[in-house]
């Protein structure tokens, strides 16, 4: 059974943390993963650093650039993950070119073998996924997580819901990562629209969630929320992982 499916069946107010592999140090990955797991984080997204991260703001761009300079790449990440065993399900998040150059099937196979539960590839559109890669993802029991935004039509959300089998990643506003605008009335309207759709998949809210207040607000409308930029920022200031998690819940 994929860890992602059990996670959502028995828990609420899930906290998911995103960080960039190989940042701040090349060998930080395993340490951060274990600390997040011990701090009780429910799900962890590991970012594969890419030279041209279109959907990311300055903080994640910078962490990616530094991770690449540190020597991080896909095969090295898989090596690091071989020695990690977390309770929390792991998700790899990266841009499609990184996966494509590694080889999609090889990428899926290795993901499965190191215990990864799902993938988020923001620039792999659902149409291409369904036509060319769905069978490969399924062969290795990897859940593909799709994004939706306030501009996504209900019709398209239904299509995405139909082809998802873990959770849907609701981007809180149409933005790149790291825009600190909290959760305002507009967003709450969008979150309740999603909630009222009664989707078959649980929803996690991400982008712009940075501290306790926005986390709690997001959790009113979804199974949980995802924090990325704020966590990476805390790594820069050398705040201890456990301390950061304590500020959230």
């Amino acid at each position: 059974m994929n860890k992602l499916n059990t996670l959502f069946s028995d828990k609420k107010k899930l906290l998911s943390i995103y960080f960039t592999a190989g940042f701040p140090e090349l060998n930080s990955t395993a340490k951060i993963l274990n600390e997040l797991d011990n701090a009780g984080v429910d799900m962890i997204e590991i970012g594969i650093p890419f030279s041209d991260p279109l959907a990311d703001g300055p903080v994640i761009q910078d962490s990616s650039e530094r991770a690449i300079a540190n020597g991080m790449n896909v095969s090295f990440l898989f090596e690091q993950l071989k020695n990690v065993n977390t309770k929390a399900p792991l998700i790899l998040m990266g841009y499609f070119n990184s996966v494509m150059q590694f080889g999609v099937e090889k990428f899926c196979k290795q993901s499965k073998s190191v215990g990864v539960s799902g993938l988020i590839i923001p620039d792999l559109p659902i149409e291409v996924y369904l036509k060319e890669y769905k069978h490969v993802f399924q062969k290795y029991d990897l859940k593909n997580i799709f994004l939706i935004s306030p501009q996504t039509s209900n019709e398209r959300i239904k299509l995405i819901d139909k082809h998802s089998d873990a959770f849907i990643y609701a981007v809180s506003s149409s933005s790149t990562t790291g825009t600190k605008n909290g959760v305002n009335a507009d967003k709450e309207k969008y979150f309740s629209r999603i909630k009222k759709m009664n989707l078959k998949n649980p929803v996690m809210i991400g982008f712009g969630i940075s501290e306790k207040q926005s986390f709690n607000k997001a959790c009113n409308y979804a199974s949980g929320a995802i924090i990325g930029t704020a966590f990476i920022q805390s790594l820069k200031t050398k705040t201890h992982v456990t301390e950061f998690i304590k500020t959230i819940r």
């Binding site: 030279s51 041209d52 499609f96 150059q101 559109p125 291409v128 994004l147 996504t152 039509s153 149409s174």
Partner: protein, 388 residues
């Protein structure tokens, strides 16, 4: 062989729209409307009138007598350099601004390398009274200073991009990020046949006026059409109406920079392999991890690690021949054109001209070189390298 885009947005195996979901509605809006808009009589009337009365079309097809004597063949220059704002880029921006207006957009964004597309966008925004924001790499802002000043005078805001190689690729990233953050009121006028479908097709169609005119002006068939390739819009325009005629040889000239093997180059077809850049599957310079290589060329407009998917397809099917020209060869060709014909070409176009020395065309053959732009913007570079 079919060289047009298919329904899914591919040229052979290249193209598509590899974009984050946040951009899906924006791209979908253009995809669902562009063909209808550009084939409407209203658009055609407005666009053609602007091309004729504002931009200065048709551009001359000039028989370059002394250059022809030098290379012992018949060389014609398609004078896109004589267009308003100094390059072919205005063919595209005039068309796209009409589309943006039709879609009711109030805010226009663009990326630029040499600054020609930025100037052409700032120009049409001034013409239509729309807000204009241009992203430009820090390195390019420095080497194309006159164009930065022009954009500002035209009322555009120029935003300096400091990420990555600080050139065209990074400016394009920033423009796309801006679009994600301003999804509903903004139209992105992309400057070449790159980016997610339908942009490559849209821009190729708007630039196709170049080859349409060449066909009418030349009357006989050219044996060769030569154009430089950054993203590939002037080449796509110059090739467009000849693509299905195998007797016309198409030659696309990329920038070899300091040399193919120097590590400072932008020759995508030689050094690249299929990958994804700016939402398009195409040939791409990248390392074995799939990180995009920082390209180099003396010419800011050719300094791009990818190429439009239509060109990846022309390359893949051997329909066009892709060659590369170094900085030094391009400079030499520019000085030569100035002396022989009294025309100072853009550094980009100088790459196409430089290939004349390697072409070995026959005496009775006809060669058309697309002179995509004029050299005013490159004067400081030309002065720096001036042979005494």
């Amino acid at each position: 062989m079919n060289y047009s885009v298919n329904k899914e947005g591919y040229y052979g195996s290249f193209g598509g729209a590899y974009i984050p979901e946040m951009l899906y509605p924006n791209i979908e809006e253009i995809k669902n409307n562009y063909q209808k808009i550009i084939s409407s009589q209203k658009f055609k009337n407005e666009y053609n009138a602007l091309l004729a009365n504002y931009a200065g079309r048709p551009t001359p097809l000039y028989f370059a007598k002394r250059l022809s004597e030098k290379y012992k063949t018949n060389i014609y220059l398609k004078r896109e350099d004589l267009l308003h704002t100094g390059a072919h880029k205005i063919n595209n921006t005039l068309g796209q601004i009409l589309i943006a207006k039709h879609l009711g957009k109030k805010r226009i964004i663009a990326e630029t390398g040499a600054g020609q597309h930025g100037v052409a966008t700032a120009t049409v925004c001034a013409l239509m009274g729309l807000q204009c924001i241009v992203y430009m790499g820090e390195v390019d802002i420095e080497r194309q200073a006159p164009n930065v000043a022009r954009m500002k005078m035209l009322g555009a805001k120029v935003v300096s991009t400091t990420s990555g190689s600080k050139t065209l690729k990074d400016a394009t990233n920033e423009a796309i990020r801006d679009w994600i953050n301003n999804a509903t009121d903004t139209y992105y006028i992309i400057g070449s046949v790159v980016g997610p479908h339908p942009y490559p097709d849209l821009v190729a169609k708007l630039q196709s006026v170049i080859s349409k005119e060449i066909k009418l002006q030349l009357r006989t068939k050219p044996n060769y059409v030569i154009a430089c390739v950054g993203g590939g819009s002037n080449a796509a325009g110059a090739f467009y109406h000849f693509m299905n005629d195998k007797n016309v040889k198409l030659i696309a000239v990329e920038a070899a920079g300091k040399g193919i093997k120097s590590g400072h180059s932008a020759a995508t077809m030689v050094l690249g392999k299929p990958g994804i850049i700016h939402g398009s599957k195409t040939m791409l310079m990248q390392n074995s991890d799939g990180q995009i290589t920082e390209p180099y060329s003396i010419s800011a407009g050719l300094d791009y690690p990818g190429v439009g998917p239509i060109h990846a397809h022309l390359f893949d099917t051997d329909r066009a021949k892709f060659v590369s020209i170094t900085d030094a060869e391009a400079l030499k060709a520019a000085y030569q054109l100035a002396k022989l014909e009294g025309i100072i070409p853009a550094l980009e176009s100088a790459h196409a001209l430089a290939y004349l020395g390697k072409l070995k065309a026959k005496k009775n053959e006809t060669v058309v070189v697309n002179l995509s732009g004029r050299g005013d913007k490159d004067l400081s570079t030309y002065i720096k390298h001036l042979p005494i």
